[in-house]
């Protein structure tokens, strides 16, 4: 096992970087050779699109590597080696340990005048100590979707508080259809953030201290347990929350899912679905919320030609606005990361999509803060598991998470 760990680390993920093999150390025909890595997108046409963008770039020979499987771990391992990517995308930008470990390049100077056009919360999420480490490529979001006709039949209004959501889920549950689907783990994977925002608190405070040692958070997490035991939650569906199948196949009346599922939802139920944020805790506490995330383009410090890699990122994700709009709108359903482009996106101007964009602007929260490390994430996720599935005391669990998070914040500060 020990050998296995180190072997994987040393070997990275093989020597195939996706970069064109060329003489002269990373150049081809006088032009720099760059390897650009993406995770495997689900929408047809996406791979061809990024390959076309890469081909159109005149100042470097860019080769796209499309990576199915556990992309995040693959990138993290590859960055340790000399055979990693030059340019790569990463969910919500590079991690704090990548930044502190000097694995990614400062991209602050690439935005220029366009800085004010990018969604501020995304720029903030991808920055550390005033320096920007990734350029947001596209905005994604998670929200509640519901079947209008099923709610009408059951005489249920779209819920605006968690208690109303619980009552609605119960009322919508029949022999064949469950009221709500929040993932096969009962919401452990995706409701951690919404449960906090619902209670008016957050992962960390503005000054980067632990943010939810609070009775409202305790109450909000207790509601997740209540939902899990209510028998109105769909559990063990063949596909998980990120796929709309459970909703489109009629297994559930409401589902917490992502904006990317809209094309399938529209095809299955034209004009018969609506969207909602995760509701606030109760009439007097908290606020509704939607989860906002974005893949960001980053440059490895081990790139053969860092300047060439930076110029390519600037060309694609800052200058080429038409390509950015194409990327966000043509293949799937995403919100462009720039405000001016979001205003030009025709698909986002009406119906549930327009509501979703409104939620992003009004009640959107970045998925988690930059200083929320994987260790903090695991501690919170473990606590959620125990609270939701075993019914352990949320207050005790929150205290245990706080101890881990405080230690992590101290480590980062040190």
């Amino acid at each position: 096992m020990g050998g296995g760990l180190a072997a994987l680390a040393v070997a990275g993920c093989g020597s195939n970087t996706g970069r064109e093999e060329a003489g002269g150390g990373g150049s081809e025909g006088g032009k720099p050779a760059l390897a650009q890595w993406y995770h495997q997108y689900g929408e047809p046409g996406t791979q061809q699109a990024v390959e076309r963008y890469a081909k159109e770039y005149a100042d470097a020979a860019v080769t796209v590597q499309w990576s199915p499987g556990d992309y995040d771990k693959k990138v993290a391992s590859a960055l340790l080696t000399d055979s990693g990517p030059d340019v790569f995308e990463y969910g919500n930008g590079p991690s704090i340990d990548m930044i502190k470990g000097g694995q990614v390049v400062d991209l602050t100077d690439l935005l220029g005048d366009a800085k004010s056009d990018f969604t501020p919360s995304l720029i903030e999420r991808m920055s550390y100590q005033g320096k920007l480490y990734a350029i947001p490529q596209v905005t994604d979001m998670q929200l509640l979707v519901y079947r209008k006709s099923l709610l009408q039949q059951a005489g249920v209004e779209p819920p605006t508080t968690v208690d109303e959501l619980l009552a609605a889920a119960k009322k919508l549950t029949t022999d064949k259809v469950k009221g709500l689907f929040v993932g096969n783990d009962g919401g452990v994977g995706i409701l951690g953030g919404p449960a906090l925002w619902s209670a008016g608190v957050d992962y960390l405070t503005k000054d980067n201290q632990f943010g939810f040692d609070d009775p409202a958070a305790v109450e909000s997490l207790r509601k997740l347990r209540e939902l899990f035991t209510s028998k109105s939650l769909l559990l063990g569906a063949p596909t998980d929350w990120s796929d709309p199948s459970a909703f489109t196949q009629g297994l559930t009346a409401m589902q917490f899912t992502g904006l990317w599922t809209f094309p399938q939802l529209q095809k299955a139920f034209p004009d018969d679905f609506g969207v909602l944020p995760w509701p606030k805790l109760n009439a007097s506490t908290g606020a509704p919320s939607v989860t906002v995330g974005a893949y960001g383009a980053a440059v490895s410090t081990k790139a053969k030609d860092v300047e060439a890699a930076k110029k390519f990122v600037q060309w694609l994700w800052v200058d080429q606005t038409d390509k950015q709009l194409d990327w966000a709108q043509t293949y799937g359903f995403h919100i462009p990361a720039r405000k001016s482009l979001a205003e030009r996106a025709d698909k986002l101007k009406s119906g549930p999509a327009a509501d979703a964009v409104k939620f992003v602007n009004e009640v959107g929260h970045a998925q988690n803060p930059l200083l929320w490390t994987p260790k903090s994430g695991t501690a919170y996720s473990d606590a959620l598991n125990r609270i939701i599935k075993n019914g352990t005391d949320p207050a005790t669990e929150i205290k245990a998470v706080k101890a881990v998070v405080d230690a992590e914040l101290q480590r980062i500060a040190g």
Partner: protein, 323 residues
Amino acid sequence: MSAPATSRTRPTAEDRPPVSLTTRLRGRYDRNLWFAIFVGPFVLGLAVFVYVPIVWSVVLSFFDARNTVTPTDFVGLGNYLDMLRDSAFRSSLLTFVVFALFIVPTTFVVSLGLALLVHRARFARTFFRSVFFLPTACSYVVASLIWKLSIFNGVRFGLANTVLGWFGLEPVAWLSVTQPPWYWLVLVTARMWLQAGFYMILFLAGLQRISPSLYEAAAIDGATGWRVLRYVTLPQLRATSTAVLLLLLINAFQAFDEFYNLLSSSGQYPPYARPPLVYLYYAALGQGQDFGHGSAGAVILTLMIALIALAQGRFLGLGRRDD
């Protein structure tokens, strides 16, 4: 009488022509050379991909190695102490113990039972051997997905829930609930289906080594059925049983695939079913990339497996003469 002209005396070292170092290295008929040509690449591969990483991993365990495999901050035994104090790591060991308590005896009994049945089968013996052995060829990942998506999914049309439905029972979310912990049933049946055939073959080999004269003697003494099994078959299978138990325990320690594929979702993993390898995978190769703590955990785990295997071998008499 003089010695015959044809008689020869054994040549002494001085008589033989001098042998060059190259010739000696190549060996008689170039045996050494061919040995090196055939074995060398594999030894090199073993060294590069197994022994060097193992040594490197042990080195990393003494350093603060986050997002790097060439660390500079020596922390001594700090990573080891952290791991031993880490309640999540300790609970992963507990998960393993529970899993081993389920899987080792059940697989042992099932594979021995299958071997006895197949050994005594009067017809279609080869067919049954093949049927029971075939699952061994199936990937753990594929089997896990079949178990998760087809047999034990939580909706009413999953295979297991369909059967429950025939008896008027409610569908069960097998992998989502912990009260009761149905996920153990899914984990154990998946592994048992995959590995029982392999151990059945080991037991079959052991059964075929038992001399028929022992059974004849037992029959003359009037022993039948259970008494033959108790006093002839099982004692004769002692060496095989010991090896099977040891392999089962080590395999249980190495459990990863079915746990990971059955229980991970959306990048999350529940703490209650996280055996040591899954825990170390997340610690070292997850987004945290904490090779120092991951390596320390791996060394601790390796030592534990070695100690348990030694203790078990001593207790059960592995390597002792099978007399």
